[in-house]
Assembly symmetry: C2
Homo-oligomer: 527 residues x 2
């Protein structure tokens, strides 16, 4: 399996004696200036992340107007500081020195990533950004109103406007093959729409028959005992216990509550997770905490020396999602995990789980059935929700699908992929917030993350076949250690497809995911 040499210090040196650290001894002044600027930009981003986190976790209602202005100012200052002409001059000055660097060195990686981000950021027309900000705000309001009226038509004009602006943005950014590439690039550097389309086509082919087979055997798995009285305080405690178990470092992070769970990385040493608890059901909060915990472990795993640089970041949204889905599903919904963890949950809910055993719990948390709402979907059906959105986004962006025809197309595809149909738009085309602010191009990352998670997991099992047994005995450190070594410590050094290739020795593929799903759900549903 190809791997890069270990580089762990600021001034690391490889076996061949070449400098590999972030700051080589012969770094020119322009490089130091660049690092200083990147540090400032990183500080502004961190402060903005705190403003966002606080808004969801703590802020009283009266703070909303001022908060919007504070965020706008910090965002603008960060953009100005990063796209200032002198940054381009430093990058130009450094080109000769960069050519001499070991391409595997940290310094070379930093310059590659910085150059890529700088060139993209410079192509963004400031006026278009301002117009998109306005349209996003109006789009969000229209979406909220449309949901309250249960009428897509209320949102349609704002959506059309957002699409038009995103087309303009894509054209300003440029793209190698098709317009959607420009939007995808913002989340999955180096990836093409064509590749996503091909992966998803094969994935769909494997999933749709499986979903139909499972839908016909709904009586095989029961989860009724997960619904009942699961008090808030005990659920909160068990989420903390689970985060401890997977290795989340509470000296370098914390968990709070918010309406929509998310992860806010303020620094490698300060990673904030949130969760949401429904005291009438066990599961959503627990798996949401594991999910955000997976994001958090990734953020806590970046090399300390990369602090305040763009390298201390995930390789892409999909790679980030691979880490959250790994802990939420591949580990957190595994039979081995529940062999270890079930007694702890049962100890906190002895009445609610009387007569339930680890195997029953394992089956319950893996119940699969077609549902209308993406965020509630199980492992089998989830990716179909994503493909539906991806296909509709492509058709909307190209203009092949007029905005007014979107609800009908949504219903048609839901029926084709899941065999069910939304009764109204709130549980259909109006369910996701993403399009309300013009967030096209993000959905694929969710499904790609699922694929990457399983491809990484197969590689980890090849390296260490004993990992599942370790998990069953409550030793989750081996999994984390493998991810730290093969994924986390690389931060944003590699583009996602390259990272997958280097770590697993193969191109990104849907096959590991399909193998996993067929084996696991074949057994659960007796297929």
């Amino acid at each position: 399996m190809p791997e890069t040499p270990v580089q762990d210090a600021t001034r690391g040196v490889t076996a061949t004696g070449r400098a590999t650290g972030l700051v080589p001894p012969d770094a020119p002044p322009a490089y130091h200036r660049l690092l200083e600027r990147l540090g400032q930009v990183s500080d502004l981003h961190a402060a903005t992340t705190l403003l966002n986190w606080d808004e969801e976790v703590n802020m009283p209602p009266g703070g909303a107007a001022a908060r919007a202005e504070q965020k706008a100012t910090l965002n603008r200052l960060a953009h100005e500081a990063f796209t200032a002409p002198e940054v381009g001059q430093w990058l130009d000055e450094l080109a000769g020195w960069e050519a001499q660097l070991d391409p595997e060195s940290d310094a070379a990686a930093l310059l590659r990533v910085t150059r890529r981000d700088y060139e993209r950021a410079r192509r963004v027309p400031p006026d278009l950004v301002a117009e998109l900000a306005r349209a996003s705000s109006q789009g969000y309001q229209a979406w909220v109103e449309a949901r309250s009226q249960q009428r897509f038509a209320v949102f349609a004009p704002a959506l059309a406007r957002l699409l038009e602006l995103r087309r303009q943005m894509a054209d300003a950014l440029g793209y190698p093959e098709e317009r959607y590439d420009a939007l995808l690039e913002g989340h999955e550097p180096g990836m093409r729409t064509r590749q996503v389309r091909e992966l998803f086509a094969r994935l769909k082919e494997g999933l749709v028959p499986l979903v139909q087979a499972i839908a016909e055997r709904q009586d095989r798995v029961r989860d009724d005992f997960l619904h009942g009285d699961y008090p808030d305080a005990a659920q909160w405690e068990i989420t903390l216990e689970a985060l401890e178990a997977i290795g989340f470092d509470f000296q370098r992070g914390r968990q709070d509550r918010s309406i929509h769970p998310f992860t806010a990385p303020l620094a490698t040493g300060d990673v904030r997770l949130t969760t949401r608890i429904n005291p009438r059901v066990f599961g959503p909060a627990f798996f949401s905490s594991l999910h955000e915990g997976g994001h958090g472990l990734y953020e806590q795993g970046f090399p300390a020396a990369w602090h305040r640089t763009p390298l201390a970041d995930g390789a892409s949204s999909a790679v980030h999602e691979s880490q959250s889905r790994l802990w939420e599903n591949v580990i957190g919904r595994s039979r081995e995990f529940w062999r270890f963890f079930f007694p702890r949950v049962q100890a906190r809910f002895p009445q609610q789980l009387a007569g339930v055993d680890a195997e029953a719990m394992y089956r319950a948390v893996n119940r699969s059935r077609p549902s209308l709402i993406r965020v509630d979907a199980d492992e089998v059906t989830y990716n179909l929700h994503i493909m539906l959105r991806f296909e509709l986004e492509l058709a909307l962006l190209s203009g092949d699908l007029p905005v007014d025809d979107l609800p009908g197309a949504w219903r048609e595809k839901t029926r084709a992929y899941l065999g069910i149909e939304p009764a109204h738009d709130v549980e259909g085309v109006l369910q996701d917030i993403h399009w309300s602010w013009g967030g096209f191009g993000y959905f694929p990352s969710y499904a790609l993350g699922n694929l990457i998670a399983l491809q990484l997991w197969e590689a980890a099992l090849r390296d260490e076949p004993g990992l599942p047994e370790e998990i069953a005995r409550g030793r989750l450190g081996g999994v984390l250690q493998w991810m730290r070594q093969h994924v986390h410590r690389h931060g944003a050094r590699y583009e996602p497809l390259e990272l997958v290739r280097r770590v697993t020795g193969a191109e990104l593929s849907e096959q590991p995911f399909l193998r996993y799903i067929r084996r696991k759900y074949g057994e659960l549903y007796g297929l």
Copy 2:
């Protein structure tokens, strides 16, 4: 009583038809640019305030290093944005237009305050700021170490260095009469050391005999029932109830916990208070919440139209302190307040307060006795702690008192003013954090705040003699309304001495405070 005309809208107009609002219709472009810049600077300050608040309230230990860098970057950007040459050019361009403005208009006030702050900020040498930041950090570490060793000598060299740098800073800033003026100006604009010295001399003359008389009658007031089992949760609830009672708006603020209580104003609509609870005693947390609540009411009372300008700020540290001490002591330790509020406290602590009545509670929370620690001092002795520090600061800054002689001078003055002496430096000269980071010039504001609180209170009672009776009936809105109208709505428009003059019709004086203390404690201790 002289008062300014009411101005409540952005484009207010006086009876004479002259524009008084913040943005007059004929405002030149330079004025709009200035406002925009001030808004950005305000946003950066707000983000820094959030970084500070979060550090004390939420941050995990692993976030410390990154947080220091984030704060340094935002502070530097705010300073650069405010002191940029174009700000001076705009102010120059606006001089002619400004001369035509009604001097009582918001726009004229904004330009006055901005010009004053700009000129002061421009005089600060950047290198000296950087050196002071380093010396502060080293000073703080030396202070912590000196406390752990109970040896002032460990801190002495760092203190000497900080004094030297502060002397340089004072010389760079300039001063009208004496060096200390330059430091005082940062907290009390327009005030002179000479004025503080004179006020304090008369105040000391009145207080020292009173402290002695009270010390001889310690048996007159008992507070033993305040010590015992006062559970954390019930104390937390009663602090929230008290904040509600005084009118703190929880839609525009919140309370949290921190080791050192403080107020963090993120915006007029988002004011954060903190408190600290000791479950072995009733009082410290309660009055600390009232104290921070007083700061919070001031911040919540600035005109909304002044949002993101330097006018949305306290007139000075002392005026800010006048508001916190008013609610903590003048209201919160009044017989009328306890007539109203005692049943609420007793309902939460029925065992602990069995057999206690409102009058006994009133007496207990006003128990006075000389003590060594400033932050634990009562209303009578508190100002003597401040005067001691003020006198020592003056002597240190002038060089009349060598740093090595400071502990002896501290002991001597403590004996002279309070009749007691610290056993070691931790309860003496090493007790306050202020000097550890070079914070000379701030202490006077604490005592001046007490004086201003009583001078304002006398004025309020002249206007509305029924206020105490309202308080006894649980109606605290009248007090808040008066402060809103006469103090809060002026924000930073007037310098502190001018504000006092305009609101009370008299020069700042120690007499209202002395009258209040003599009456209240004369009765409590039968003097």
